[in-house]
């Protein structure tokens, strides 16, 4: 008992720690807009420049939840988010048709590329068609690394196999079950082919020996759209906030930022803004 | 009747289906030293916890200085008592801090704490250990610290639960002597629990014999040890010789009891034909070789027999003998044994006074 009592300093420390958190939690809830989006959007770093601009303009606070495409859409359909920004057109259309998501508007696209060993043993450089490229890989039984995680990228890959009439199976077909970055690492180690979005490829480029072998084909375009959440999906949906964010994404300010984003870091833009266009007009 | 310091009324303590303690009344008088003795598992520690307000009885009432102690208001009264347990339960701190603990819990300032502790550290001969960590103490030193902690509180009631039983013999002897001196000087009302009759005999004014949760006998220490009321108590307080017999004749002042292998004159209010047990304490039996007994003495009873076994027993010898089918235990001092020529297998005469026999009725 003559010893120093350390409970008081501990208690003070607790208060110091907790006060700022309480203040934050005490803010009016309607100020928050929950954006459900895909990991690739977040990983590209684009939202890190767009979100602060939106917050400054509107006074809203954005909570960006970046998860897999399937989960991002499911969260919005459950009413756990206020607005969705994803890149899976066929899935999106299904949700819009069901009335779960509203007012689908195109925002931008980036593109996928097929990369592989610079020596290109499957000779896919000989074609411009992505479907044909995959057919060549399967015929040559050269290793192909798939994400296998039901992500947007994986879904694109599956639809290409389907168009090629091939069910990819065998020791040459490896499923990583991980994100794009990890999948690139595996493809690089195993000296295999893979499909990746350009942004992630550029980010990892320094560490990869794989080369871009096929690009520019229309099915490889990755179109992002923004959708508002139907207020009927659940309780406490911030409908005006969601609409404000969707409107912002197609506004000229945001579109201008998208147009130049990435030039500084990679020497080329990562995205192409397409607000106001129709799907048929894109690519080629 | 003088008001008791502590009074327990109509007490019953149950643990599940088991009744650990049950008695109608027990009073602790101010200034006395009361020993509660009994075998292990008799309920002695439960009794002490009740007295210390550390446990609620299942039924019954506890009065402190005539006032009923209500449930939940124990603290103020608990602070007028102090407990010492079998193990010296000290905190991981110095001897001084441990001794000071009770006073600090009562919010005394450092100066008064010091004034009250120092004399007790001296009296218990641990002043030189004041700065030692409690963990580094021997058993005896630790128990002395525990006693100092209790005594420094100047309690109205001191409760000691087997305070010597975890100590080795030399430490136990030393502490017993010191504690006896302290208790005689201090006049603090003390209740102590022990299964050791010597401790009780040495320290106590009154003794309560607790067996199987019931108080079988309560009285002055000398009375209880000399005159146990029944066989169970007799066995516990150390009557080794118990002879079953029948009352033969009753004359004025003297009664004759026959038993297997002889008869004896005893004193007591008995009727012929009553079945009794004669209790003899070993120190009350005198041994001699046949033909050499002191015939002039007033001893009424003489039994002839054979020595079965002689065992060294502290300062004297414990002699087992058989007199016509009846077994007796006697003590004899070491020099007397050598002088008298008593030996194993030899003939012997056991003599005892009629007044030395304590008679218990058999049912």
């Amino acid at each position: 008992m003559q010893r120093k009592n350390f409970s008081l300093p501990l208690f003070t420390l607790a208060l110091t720690l907790a006060i700022p958190l309480c203040i934050q939690a005490g803010e009016a809830p309607s100020k928050f807009v929950v954006l459900s989006t895909t990991t690739s959007t977040q990983d590209s770093g684009l939202l890190d420049v767009l979100v602060p601009l939106f917050e400054k303009k509107t006074g809203y606070k954005v909570k960006t939840i970046s998860v897999g495409t399937g989960q991002a859409l499911a969260l919005a359909a459950k009413g756990e988010a206020d607005v969705a920004l994803v890149h899976a057109p066929s899935l999106e259309k299904k949700y819009v048709a069901d009335g779960k998501l509203l007012n689908r508007r195109l925002v931008m696209y980036n593109d996928f590329i097929i990369i592989g060993p610079a020596s290109d043993p499957a000779k896919i450089k000989s074609t411009k068609s992505s479907v044909e490229g995959l057919t060549l890989i399967s015929k040559s039984q050269e290793r192909f690394v798939s994400r296998g995680d039901n992500s947007g990228t994986h879904n694109l890959e599956k639809s290409l196999w389907k168009q090629a009439g091939i069910e990819p199976k065998g020791s040459w077909y490896v499923e990583s079950g991980q994100g794009m970055g990890a999948t690139l690492g595996i493809a690089n180690d195993r000296n295999g082919y893979t499909i990746t979005d350009r942004a992630t490829y550029l980010a990892f480029q320094k560490r990869l020996t794989l080369a871009v072998l096929l690009e520019g084909d229309k099915p490889l375009l990755n179109i992002y759209s923004v959708m508002e959440v139907n207020p009927a999906n659940g309780p406490r949906i911030n409908t005006p906030g969601g609409k404000a964010f969707a409107d912002f994404m197609v506004s000229s300010d945001a579109q201008a930022m998208i147009k130049t984003y990435g030039v500084e870091k990679f020497g080329q833009p990562l995205f192409v803004p397409i607000a106001g266009k129709r799907e048929e007009e894109i690519g080629g | 009747m003088a008001e008791a310091l502590l009074n327990l009324q109509d007490i019953r303590v149950r643990y599940g289906d088991l009744t650990a303690l049950q008695f109608s009344s027990l009073a602790v008088h101010g200034g006395e030293i009361l020993a509660i003795i009994g075998p292990n598992g008799a309920g002695k520690s439960t009794m002490l916890r009740l007295m210390g307000l550390l446990q609620q009885p299942s039924e019954g009432k506890v009065f402190f200085r005539g006032n009923l102690v209500a449930h939940g208001e124990g603290l103020s009264i608990r602070r007028r008592m102090a407990s010492v347990f079998q193990e010296p339960l000290l905190l991981n701190a110095s001897v001084y801090e441990n001794a000071a603990l009770g006073l600090k819990l009562r919010g005394l300032d450092r100066r008064s704490v010091d004034q009250r502790i120092r004399p007790w550290l001296e009296r218990l001969r641990i002043a030189h250990l004041a700065d030692r960590r409690a963990r580094s103490l021997s058993g005896g030193e630790a128990q002395r610290t525990s006693l100092a902690r209790a005594m420094a509180l100047d309690p109205e009631l001191l409760l000691l639960d087997e305070p010597f039983s975890s100590l080795d013999p030399p430490a136990r002897e030393d502490l017993l002597v010191d504690l006896e001196t302290i208790l005689r000087k201090s006049t603090v009302t003390t209740v102590f629990v022990t299964h050791d009759r010597d401790e009780a005999f040495m320290l106590a004014d009154r003794v309560a014999v607790l067996i199987d949760g019931r108080i079988l006998q309560l009285g002055a220490a000398a009375e209880v040890f000399a005159r146990p009321i029944n066989e169970e108590v007799a066995r516990f307080v150390g009557v080794d010789t118990k002879i079953p017999g029948v009352v033969e004749k009753v004359r004025v002042g003297l009664t004759e009891v026959t038993f297997n292998g002889g008869n004896a004159a005893v004193v007591g209010d008995l009727r012929p034909g009553e079945r009794v047990i004669l209790c003899l304490r070993p120190e009350d039996i005198t041994l001699s070789i046949p033909g050499r007994e002191d015939l002039k003495s007033s001893v009424r009873n003489r039994l002839a027999g054979k020595v079965v076994k002689i065992i060294p027993w502290g300062s004297h010898y414990r002699v087992a003998l058989e007199c016509g089918g009846t077994r007796l235990i006697a003590f004899i001092l070491r020099p007397s044994l050598l002088e008298s020529g008593i030996q194993e297998g030899g003939d012997v005469v056991a003599s005892f006074k009629a007044t030395a026999v304590h008679v218990i009725r058999r049912n």
Partner: protein
Amino acid sequence: MGLIFDGIREAFRLILTADSEVLGITWLSLQISGTATLLSLILGMPLGIGVALGRFPGRNFIVSLINTGMGLPPVVVGLFVTIFLWRSGPLGFLELLYTPAAMIIAQIVIALPIVAGLTMAAFQTLNPNLSLQLLGIGASRLQLLWLLCREAKLPLLAAVMAGFGGVISEVGASMMVGGNIRGQTRVLTTATVLETGKGNFEIAIALGSILLLITFAVNLILTHIQQREQLRWPKPS
């Protein structure tokens, strides 16, 4: 190898230049995990003490619950806390999902059984009769509790260390209930995952190093207290 050195150099650069984002993330990690640990102590210690010293029906059930809870996978905790905090969930009206408060809740669920379990173990090492003895020299209930805590100080410190270490280094639950939102719920672990995913290995290594440094420092301080106590109070020879 170069990567690791680059990472460590980056870590030093970020710390020395007081990079505001990294500092923010670090501070938030400390705030969230510190608060969660503290609340776990406030809730878990009485629980552990109660279970260790008390005898009441259902006690064994609670002990099993605590022991199971000590090994709860954080991801499972994250999942259930998320479901409860969803707008459509039972606690949706609190609007806590994707806030530091939600992370604190999840971390409490993780740390509470650890703290309660180790507190229980700490008190069970004390002599059961010590309570009686302390009451027997006039301790009030509160004084008793304080003295017992003081006796069990060293193992209690271990409970603090284990609790804090468990939550500050946890990623699964923080990711799920916090959402790894920049400037709001991004902590060292989730930021490390994110930067790894983005391919920014230097920053990921830097963040990881800062996390290691924090856990190391906290454990160093607590171990120091523990060892000092032991040195000062030698065991009997």
